[in-house]
Symmetry: C2
Subunit: 152 residues, 2 copies
DNA sequence: GTTGAATATCTGACACGTCAACTAACGAGG
DNA sequence: CCTCGTTAGTTGACGTGTCAGATATTCAAC
């Protein structure tokens, strides 16, 4: 007499596990990063993506999609990061609807320092994972991200 | 002359991927669930955990830990779910500091209906994953959750 | 017993993101 | 070229979670 209930579907459990794992990791590692560098983890994610992009710039829309925020959310997030002096807004010369967020030198400076700290914390948290496991994880996460894309 | 920059550490990328994948999946699947059943995804997660627990009850603290919210956040979340009639608060008879959140019959009803919908959506989203892959994923997620636990 | 540290929950003030409505600009057809 | 449908970004109103501090209770040590 095991439970025939729909709430025991294994996929529901797996999905719950995914959210729990990522929420807890972000809370813990995000807190460390913030304490040790003053940089909130979301800011870090924004700055990394800008720094890795051509000319350190990305459109608001592209950034919103990367970080999984709405465009309204990105507008406000960039407002705050800009007030801190880590990014600037540059109107796009060829399409006047679009605005680029561009990382500043100050932004690159704090980002580099934070990356060292963050990488160290990550290495500690993932100390039980060998290279092969990490590579498997990467593959799975890529497939999960794609699974979230609209079904068109 | 590849980039020797600390921001290119592969662990930073992996971690970013994890957050991106889970944020996008939650957004998409959470939206479907809410549209089709009226139940916000967080409510679903709360109700599942209660339904699976002994006597359909859990302390506020245990629930906060499961869902990865602060205790203040759980207080307010349970307030709202209670107003909808899906849970009740029961003071613990043996320790008067603790309160149990208890799922109601109404709560079990809507949960069962939502679980069917959610499981169907998950099956579609995870259609490219075979059983072995899912089991690998489960294992990895468990290890990730544990990696987030305090280092004591 | 009584004291004091620890634990469980709640609350006010506030930060952050969403949603929907709005402005502005692009671009394909007629 | 204009008009209309689409796309990019911003904004006001609001929902939800956090943080720090308050409250109540337990428990171990004296």
């Amino acid at each position: 007499m095991p439970s025939p209930s729909p709430i025991d579907d294994p996929l529901i459990t797996t999905f719950g596990r995914l959210l729990e794992a990522s929420a807890k990791l972000e809370r813990r590692l995000g807190a460390s990063l913030h304490e040790e560098t003053g940089l909130p983890h979301v800011w870090f994610e924004v700055l990394v993506r800008l720094a890795r992009s051509e000319e350190g710039r990305l459109t608001m829309g592209a950034l919103a999609d990367d970080i999984a925020l709405t465009t309204g959310g990105i507008t406000r997030l960039i407002d705050r990061i800009r007030e801190a002096g880590y990014v600037e807004r540059h109107p796009c010369p060829t399409d006047r609807r679009v605005t680029h967020a561009v990382i500043t030198d100050t932004g690159r400076g704090i980002l580099d320092r934070a990356a060292v700290v963050h990488a160290r914390n990550l290495r500690e948290a993932f100390s039980g994972f060998d290279d092969a496991t990490l590579s498997t994880l990467d593959t799975l996460l890529d497939r999960l991200r794609d699974a979230a894309a609209p079904p068109d």
